[in-house]
């Protein structure tokens, strides 16, 4: 019977697309027009930034034009050649990656425990984790500074990576737990019967099954750590200065160098845009914390 089920599946997938269009009841062209309008709303400010990145600051401040005037690559050149700029990107990348790894490493076993077991205090811990997401970063600036000073960790990548765990670890636990719920217990039990030890089962069997979940979680940890400013600024000065901080400190005698800042800004959007393409199929589900 498998010979007929293959074309049938393709058939149904095509059928689904046609049904989708009509089931909404909205005129297809009306929806498309509205969507294009919204996407324009999203892209026009970004375009403005890109436009500025290709102009000299004097041209930017000098007048108004829709297209960039006197297109120049000088801003980008500066960023790619001046160590204080490109090293900042590197710093950001380092602590964001570090944070993602730490968050995943601690969240994976915890999420597994929450999804499979009941234990004393489980609901309370789960909720407590979420309350950390509710804590304003502004509240933690001084305490963090003091805490990490005590350990001599100011201006290190590790400090920022750990500090960002405040909001990323709860998120990671939530998303992973949501994805893990979709894996039936029977798989765990079969593995134990087959003689797998827990670590071996977890790494070689379980994690591959939730690979999209891990990918999405990594993406979100990356994203929320990359865009954060307050904590990153408080805990760094020179050695571990991330790009977001470098940008806020770029004031010269003649005022803000808009062209340069714009180029720096564009380059901060690029990594995110690339990464999101890889998780595009799961990003919606990830935002819903895997619960949809």
């Amino acid at each position: 019977m498998s010979a007929i089920s293959q074309p049938a599946k393709r058939s149904e997938a095509l059928g689904e697309k046609r049904r989708d269009a009509r089931r909404r009841g909205l005129s297809r062209w009306g929806s498309r027009a509205a969507l294009c309008l919204y996407i324009a709303f999203v892209f026009v400010p970004i375009y403005w930034l890109v436009r500025m990145s290709f102009m000299e600051t004097t041209d930017i401040l000098g007048g108004f034009s829709i297209l960039p005037r006197n297109v120049t690559l000088a801003n980008y050149e500066t960023i790619f050649t001046d160590p204080s700029w490109y090293l900042s990107y590197w710093n950001s990348l380092v602590f964001v990656t570090l944070n993602t790894l730490i968050s995943l490493a601690v969240a994976l076993p915890a999420a597994y425990a929450f999804s499979r077991f009941r234990f004393i205090g489980d609901k309370h811990i789960f909720f407590w984790l979420f309350t950390n997401r509710m804590a304003p970063p502004a509240v933690f600036l001084l305490p963090f500074f003091q805490l990490y000073s005590t350990f001599g960790m100011i201006d290190t990548h590790l400090a920022v990576a750990l500090a960002h765990c405040l909001f990323n670890v709860p998120l990671a636990v939530w998303i992973l737990e949501g994805f893990m719920r979709g894996v039936p217990r029977e798989i765990d039990e079969t593995a134990y019967i087959d003689g797998y030890s827990f670590p071996r089962f977890f790494v070689t069997v379980f994690i591959p099954l939730i690979a999209p979940g891990v990918g999405v979680t990594a993406f979100f940890c990356f994203m929320f750590s990359w865009i954060e400013l307050l904590i990153a600024r408080t805990l760094t000065s020179v050695e571990a200065k991330p790009i977001v901080v470098a940008m806020t400190r770029t004031v010269s005698a003649s005022g803000l160098d808009w062209g340069l800042l714009a180029a720096a800004g564009v380059l901060t959007i690029v990594p995110g845009a690339i990464v999101i393409w890889f998780v595009r199929n799961y990003i919606a589900k990830g935002f819903a914390l895997g619960r949809v």
Binding site: M1, S5, A8
Partner: protein, 363 residues
Amino acid sequence: MSEIRIEGLRHSYARNPTASDPWALKRVDHVWRDGGAYALLGPSGCGKTTMLNIISGLVRPTEGRIYFGERDVTDVPTERRNIAQVFQFPVLYDTMTMRGNLDFPLRNRGIPKAERRARVEEVAAMLDLSDSLDLRASGLGAPEKQMISLGRGLVRSDVAAILFDEPLTVIDPQVKFTLRRKLKEVHERFKPTLIYVTHDQNEALTFADQVVVMYDGEVVQVGTPEDLYERPAHSFVGYFIGSPGMNFLQVEPSGGSLVFQGGALALDETVAAGLPSKGALKLGIRPSALRIADRGTPGAIDADVVDVETLGAYAIVELAMGPTRIKARVRDGEPIPSGATAVSLPPRQTLLYADERLIGALA
């Protein structure tokens, strides 16, 4: 309204389909008679849900026309087609009460309040749901929810056909019987045309007056459950209906016999002469029709017992004739063979198929 007539129906989900694209429905011409209780039976992917959705108007066919009585409804949207559909899982408006759910289709059609109330209560009484009318729909169990789904179809007085897409899938087996009985009651009372899609032959055979069997996008047989069992018109029907299904042997005519791997069946002269000259030939015989005999009995083919499965009231005996395996059904009380034995094929119940189509019995 009278019958539902389908002419020249072909459907592919591809946008501008060519011959090489997958066609969900290859070619169907069929008449569903008014007030009939039909089962639409077939394996997954055979096109039965597509057919159902075309009848209800949720899918517009690539080719062909559909008529409700004299009216060509091929281009008429679902809302104006006088049909109701019950899906595989209960589809309800969670935020409404049961009453709200039943009332909804009438409200959308502008029926006045008093009449709506009367209809809702009548249908609820019919389905034994009067007590729960003002409860939230989301709090009910699966059987009640499916009844509501059915009820939404029944409240509309203009509904002439109710289509079911495997509606008892989520219902527990013990409850299925009660629900099927309810369906029969509804059918007797309101006399709509019922088309019930299923892949479960037991459901089809107990529910329907007429069973329409589909395979690979085509209707291969239409008939009563008895017709399907006794005279399957297509080898698939023979294979699909019955538990276990029909035995099939690839045969080739040789001399005055039909030869297969492991044995030969002698034929009557007239039958041997009437064999088609080309086409793949198959012999089909139901396990219950096979007779176990002793070796040496005239007309019996030597066979060895390979496996016996006792199932309470009967046993399934698997026999090997050389590399060919067949199954025989032995009733409780009859002796179960073992080791070396033989089988005989009663000619009247041995059917001959050419290219999967029935051409006749051996007698």
